[in-house]
C-alpha cells in the first residue's frame, strides 16, 4: 500500500439524507429476501448482512458532501474539502487520537462553494486549543469564505473564537507542491468561480481528485491538456453529477460532468481506476448503481485496444488502497 483513500462525503451540492420512505422500502426488500435460516441467530444475521442481504439492497451511497482523506503508509495525512463529511471525519479522529492531534490537519480545498466548506463549522478540532489546521488552495479569499459562513447571521459562533491555529496557504496551480511528504499538483477545472483538481503522489502511487469540473466534448482528445494531467493515475475521483445530455443542453456550463465523459477521459488517460463522485442529490442509490453499470458497459464498447479501466461509484465510508 502506498496510500489509502477514505471517502467521508461523496454527494454533490447539498447533503442528502435518506428519507423514512426509502428506509421502509429497504426494510421491506430485506424481509422479502430473508429466509428462516438467515435469521436463526446472530451469526446467521451477520452473514446475511455481510453477503448483501441476497442482493436486496443497492449500494448505499450516503448523503454527506465532499470530504476525502488520504493516508500514507507512514501515517501522513491529507484531507480534501470541508464538505459535511468533514464532521464525520472529525468524530472519527477525535475518538481515535483524542481532542488534540499531535500532527496538524492539512487540508486541500478544490474551491470555496458552500457544499465544499459547509462542514468546517462542525469540525470540532478547530475549536480546541492545541490543534493546528493548514488549509491549502489556489483561490484568493479563502479566509474570507470561511469567515463569512462562520458567524452571524449564518452561524452562532464567530470564526475569531476558534481555539485552534488556522493557517491559510495559497498555492500556485500547475506546479508540484509538497505537503507533509505528498507531492500535490493543482489543475484548473472549468467550474463557476474555478475549481482545482489535485494530483497527489506519494511512494510511487498517485491519486487524482477532480471534483466539480466540466469537460466540453469537442475539446476531448489526445491533445486535451487534462489527459496529460490524469495520465496513468492509479485512481481518478471524478465528478459525474449529470448525464451527458444534460451537460450539453440544459445544464451546459453548470460546471459538472457525466459518467460518459468520465469513461472517455479515463480511457484516453490510461487511468487504472475511475470512481464517480459528487453524486446528484436527486439520484437514488438504485439510480447511482445504474450510472456505474452503464459506465462499465460503455467502457467495454469504447475501449478497443486501450487498457481496461476499473469503474466504481464512491460512497460515504468507502476505502480504496492504491
Amino acid at each position: 500500500m502506498a496510500m489509502k483513500v477514505k471517502f467521508w462525503g461523496t454527494r454533490g451540492s447539498i447533503p442528502t439524507p435518506a428519507l423514512p420512505l426509502t428506509q421502509q422500502s429497504r426494510i421491506r426488500s430485506i424481509l422479502q429476501e430473508a429466509k428462516p435460516e438467515d435469521i436463526v441467530d446472530d451469526d446467521a444475521i451477520d452473514r446475511f448482512i455481510g453477503e448483501g442481504c441476497r442482493g436486496a439492497l443497492p449500494t448505499i451511497y450516503g448523503g454527506n458532501t465532499a470530504c476525502v482523506q488520504i493516508t500514507a503508509e507512514d501515517g501522513a495525512e491529507l484531507l480534501i474539502d470541508f464538505g459535511s463529511g468533514a464532521r464525520e471525519f472529525a468524530g472519527h479522529v477525535m475518538a481515535d487520537r483524542g481532542p488534540v492531534s499531535t500532527k496538524p490537519f492539512n487540508v486541500l480545498m478544490s474551491h470555496l462553494h458552500w457544499d465544499h466548506i459547509m462542514g468546517f463549522p462542525f469540525f470540532v478540532p478547530a475549536y480546541i486549543p492545541g490543534n493546528v489546521l493548514n488549509i491549502y488552495g489556489c483561490h484568493d479569499g479563502m479566509r474570507a469564505a470561511f469567515e463569512r459562513q462562520h458567524g452571524a447571521p449564518s452561524f452562532p459562533v464567530p470564526f475569531e473564537v476558534l481555539g485552534s491555529e488556522v493557517h491559510f496557504h495559497k498555492i500556485p496551480p500547475n506546479e508540484p507542491f509538497e505537503i507533509d511528504g505528498f507531492e500535490v499538483t493543482p489543475y484548473l477545472l472549468h467550474h463557476a468561480g474555478d475549481a482545482y483538481a489535485y494530483r497527489i503522489r506519494r511512494d510511487g502511487a498517485d491519486v487524482t481528485y477532480a471534483s466539480d469540473g466540466e469537460h466540453k466534448p469537442h475539446l476531448i482528445g489526445d491533445n486535451y491538456p487534462y489527459i496529460d494531467f490524469i495520465r496513468g493515475t492509479n485512481l481518478l475521483i471524478f465528478d459525474a453529477q449529470y448525464s451527458l445530455a444534460e451537460t450539453v443542453s440544459v445544464k451546459e456550463d453548470w460546471g459538472h460532468s457525466s459518467n460518459f465523459v468520465g469513461v472517455e477521459l479515463a480511457l484516453l488517460g490510461e487511468v487504472d481506476h475511475l470512481t464517480f463522485f459528487h453524486h446528484e442529490p436527486l439520484n437514488s442509490d438504485e439510480k447511482l448503481d445504474e450510472i456505474v453499470a452503464e459506465a462499465r458497459q460503455i467502457e467495454r464498447v469504447m475501449r478497443e485496444n486501450r487498457k481496461q479501466v476499473q469503474i466504481t461509484g464512491a460512497y460515504d465510508g468507502l476505502e480504496i488502497t492504491v
Binding site: 466540453k216 466534448p217 469537442h218 476531448i220 482528445g221 489526445d222 491533445n223 448525464s243 451527458l244 445530455a245 444534460e246 450539453v248 443542453s249 457525466s258 459518467n259 460518459f260 465523459v261 472517455e264 480511457l267 484516453l268 452503464e294 459506465a295 458497459q297 460503455i298 464498447v301 469504447m302 475501449r303 478497443e304 486501450r306
Partner: protein, 123 residues
C-alpha cells in the same frame, strides 16, 4: 478509441425523403473526426433551409462519442432556429445503448426508419 494519428472512417451523404433532408451517417464518430462530422452537420442544416427540418439516419453508424453527440445538439439548435425539426433514425444496438446511457434518447424524436423519422419532422 483510436490514437490521434489515425482518423476513424466517416461518411455523411445527403438525400431526400418526402421533402425532408436526410443525412445518412456511416462509420464511426469519435475525437479523431468529430470536427469533420460537425462540418457535415452544418452543411446539412444549411441545405435543409427552408424546409421542415432534417433527419439524421444513423443506421450505418458503428459508434459515436460525446463530441459527435454534441454536434447533433448544435445541429438541432440550428434547425430549430430556422423553424424546423430534427429527428434521428435507425439506431443500431450499440448506438442505441450510447443514446440511452448518455440520455440523448430524451433529447430527440427517434424513428425506427428514415420514413418514420421524416414523418416526425414533417407532421
Amino acid at each position: 478509441m483510436p490514437a490521434a494519428s489515425e482518423q476513424s472512417p466517416l461518411s455523411v451523404v445527403q438525400t431526400d425523403s418526402g421533402g425532408c433532408l436526410v443525412l445518412s451517417v456511416s462509420g464511426r464518430v469519435d475525437h479523431t473526426n468529430s470536427a469533420s462530422f460537425l462540418s457535415e452537420l452544418q452543411a446539412g442544416t444549411e441545405a435543409s433551409k427552408p424546409g421542415p427540418g432534417m433527419v439524421i439516419d444513423l443506421s450505418q453508424l458503428e459508434f459515436i462519442t460525446s463530441a459527435g453527440l454534441r454536434g447533433i445538439v448544435i445541429a438541432n439548435k440550428a434547425v430549430a432556429d430556422a423553424g424546423g425539426k430534427l429527428a434521428i433514425s435507425g439506431l443500431k444496438k450499440t448506438v442505441a445503448e450510447v443514446f440511452r446511457i448518455s440520455r440523448f434518447d430524451t433529447l430527440f424524436p427517434i424513428g425506427q426508419s428514415v420514413e418514420e423519422a421524416a414523418a416526425l419532422v414533417t407532421q
